[in-house]
């Protein structure tokens, strides 16, 4: 089945949710236009990933319901990869647990990790790639996110759960783009991976994107990351072109602008400053919900 034959259309009851599953008001009436999941399906199709990837989407949606999963389409150096994110802000009273999702996709992707469901996580994510979708590897890591009490801004901490143990991964800090732009800028500049005497902060805090709703800055182990949440389809297109996404993806968004103009998108890129003052983009991604 071609991806186009799987495309889904917004109904009058579809919620509009960003990559944190926070609701927003659509820019224009959404009914009969594309759901954001079509971006995911189109990327699967472009990458030629095994059809089981679509089955994983179906299995997750069947298990936990629609509009409860965030997907990220990631561009790495030479390939696409994907990540699925699950939120349940009820923490220990959660309905959407790691165990529940892993059980739902077990026929398609095994995971032998032992999960401690007593931990107060409000979010977790799973990496998906061609190897996993093709059944050639198991799930060997679950990313688990907890809150960050004591932070003066909305914040979270990510850990990687592997058979070998748990390791600290990333810190996330959220800023309102309209009122906390200066704080976001300071956060970007307060890093071992960015020297604002060598490079203007606008290299990261991209002017064309920072008119978004929320900016998130992440400190990762070997680099930093910035996310722009709540951009429109024109900004998404700008992002895809700037980050040199495959032509098939760029043209899909370009040709379907009218079908995507009700949505607000989220994008981000990992970066570090290299010798000579060059900003290296290590990976990037765009996000939606299914």
């Amino acid at each position: 089945m071609k991806a186009a034959e799987r495309y889904e259309y917004a109904t009058s009851r579809d919620p509009s949710l960003n990559y944190c599953l926070w609701e927003y008001s659509p820019a224009v009436p959404a009914e009969d236009k594309f759901r954001s999941v079509n971006l995911l399906f189109q990327s699967f199709d472009y990458a030629g990933i095994d059809a089981r990837a679509f089955d994983i989407v179906d299995a997750i949606r069947e298990a936990i319901g629609p509009f409860r999963t965030v997907f990220g389409v990631k561009q790495l150096e030479d390939r696409l990869a994907w990540e699925f994110y699950f939120y349940d802000y009820e923490r220990r009273q959660r309905e959407v647990s790691i165990s529940r999702v892993l059980e739902a996709i077990r026929p398609l992707a095994r995971c032998d990790l032992e999960i401690n469901e007593s931990l107060p996580y409000f979010m977790f994510s799973l990496d998906v790639d061609a190897e996993l979708a093709g059944g050639r590897r198991d799930i060997d890591v679950v990313h688990m996110y907890v809150g960050n009490p004591g932070s003066t801004v909305s914040s979270g901490i990510a850990y990687a759960l592997r058979a070998q143990g748990t390791t600290l991964e990333n810190f996330y800090f959220f800023f309102d783009a309209a009122t906390q732009l200066a704080e976001a800028s300071k956060k970007i500049c307060s890093s071992a991976h960015f020297d604002d005497t060598s490079m203007p902060v606008e290299a990261v805090l991209v002017p064309e994107l920072r008119t978004c709703k929320t900016i998130c800055v992440a400190n990762k182990q070997t680099h930093d990351c910035v996310y722009f949440s709540g951009i429109d389809v024109h900004q998404l297109l700008f992002f895809l072109e700037r980050l040199r996404y495959p032509e098939a993806i760029v043209s899909f968004v370009g040709q379907n602008r009218a079908n995507l103009d009700h949505l607000r998108f989220d994008v981000g890129f990992d970066y570090c400053m290299q010798a000579g003052g060059r900003l290296a983009v290590l990976k990037s991604g765009y996000y939606g919900v299914f």
Binding site: K2, E5, Y9, A10, T11, D32, K33, P66
Partner: protein, 363 residues
């Protein structure tokens, strides 16, 4: 607090557990309030009194479903509660469920939707009952249900005369803004020998006889469902091309053939039940392909369903809202062809379930 002989008794104090009370709570004070009628009336707070201050909000909430002019009138103080007019389709469907439930026998529930140039109609279902499961006079009980659903007397008489053929009966319902159609299908058990002979002679056999009526107008029709036993995929394809779609609707023929090919890829076509449908005095010429043996889900037909949606210009969002709900359901059968109104159509049946459901905890 408790009531004793019309008096209110209030007990209060410290809860104590002693040997003398054998673990029961002890109370140190007991107050008896003797109430006369006036005091009782004074304390009485009726539900209406409690709700009175919420009345404007309740009126506004109810008015949201009304046209603007009616809503403005409905929200004025002093207006009584405004209710939507009774929904005929909803009431008839509920009545059918209730009447079949009163038979007190296991039955099957199968939903369907119709898609055509007239739009998407999803308020359709079948309730199937085994004749032998019905206690007492099955004919009278079944026809009694039809009478409650306002089956025209002449049609009821005909159904009664043909009732002996039934191994099981299907009660059908479809309802939309245009009205309600009720249906009674009598299904035969075709003996193996009869099916074998029919296959050898390439002749169909009668499988269902259906009586369909509009309770509001007494319009009715009798429909024959003719089974062509043992047809190969090529044989079914030939019937579709040369009979059902012989006058056109080639896009629909292509979709029907694609569904057939998908099912025949899962199970030999001879194990699919291919029926043709005809009615006296109108141009209905349609088919019904039973797909249960192919063990498919609705989502397996997704590209073909989307082709149907495009063919009949159904809004994508409207179709998606239905598809989201049914895509994981078991695929039942596909009907299509030329309906009695001369229009091309498809009906998709899905998600058959046994009723009544019992929660394990109630067993």
């Amino acid at each position: 607090m408790s009531l004793e002989a019309g008096d209110i008794v209030v007990e209060f104090g410290r809860v104590a557990r002693t040997a003398s009370t054998q673990g029961e709570a002890a109370t140190s004070r007991r107050l008896l309030l003797s109430l006369n009628d006036a005091l009782r009336r004074h304390l009485l707070l009726s539900l209406n009194d409690a709700l009175r201050r919420h009345a404007p909000g309740l009126r506004a909430a109810e008015a949201k479903s009304l046209p603007p002019g009616e809503a403005a009138a409905a929200t004025r103080p002093g207006q009584g509660a405004v209710h939507a007019p009774p929904n005929e389709a909803g009431e008839k469907a509920a009545l059918l469920f209730s009447l079949v439930g009163e038979l007190g026998v296991p039955h099957q529930y199968e939903r369907s939707f119709r898609i055509s140039a007239g739009g998407l109609h999803a308020n359709r279902f079948l309730l199937t009952v085994g004749r032998r499961d019905i206690a007492g006079e099955a004919r009278e009980r079944v026809l009694g249900i039809c009478e409650r659903l306002e089956m025209p007397p002449a049609l009821r008489k005909t159904a009664g005369e043909r009732f002996e053929m039934a191994r099981c009966v299907h009660f059908g319902f479809e309802g939309d803004a245009g009205g309600v159609i009720c249906k009674l299908y009598l299904e035969r058990l075709v003996p193996d020998e009869e099916a074998r002979q029919a296959r050898e002679r390439a002749q169909p056999v009668l499988l269902h006889l259906a009586f369909k009526w509009n309770p509001a107008s007494e319009e009715h029709v009798t429909t024959e469902y003719l089974w062509h036993p043992g047809l190969s995929a090529a044989g079914i394809g030939g019937r579709l091309a040369q009979h059902v779609y012989r006058d056109g609707a080639q896009d629909s023929l292509a979709i029907a053939n694609a569904v057939l090919a998908l099912a025949a890829g899962k199970v030999p076509a001879e194990q699919l039940q291919y029926l043709e449908v005809q009615e006296q005095d109108n141009g209905r010429r349609s088919f019904d392909l039973n797909l249960y043996n192919a063990r498919l889900q609705v989502k397996d037909l997704q590209p073909l369903l989307y082709r149907m949606r495009e063919l009949y210009a159904v809004r994508p969002g409207q179709f998606q809202a239905l598809y989201d709900q049914i895509k994981m359901k078991v695929l039942g059968h596909l009907a299509g062809g030329v309906h009695r109104n001369g229009k091309d159509f498809f009906n998709l049946y899905y998600g058959v379930t046994g009723l009544p459901h019992f929660h394990e905890g109630f067993r």
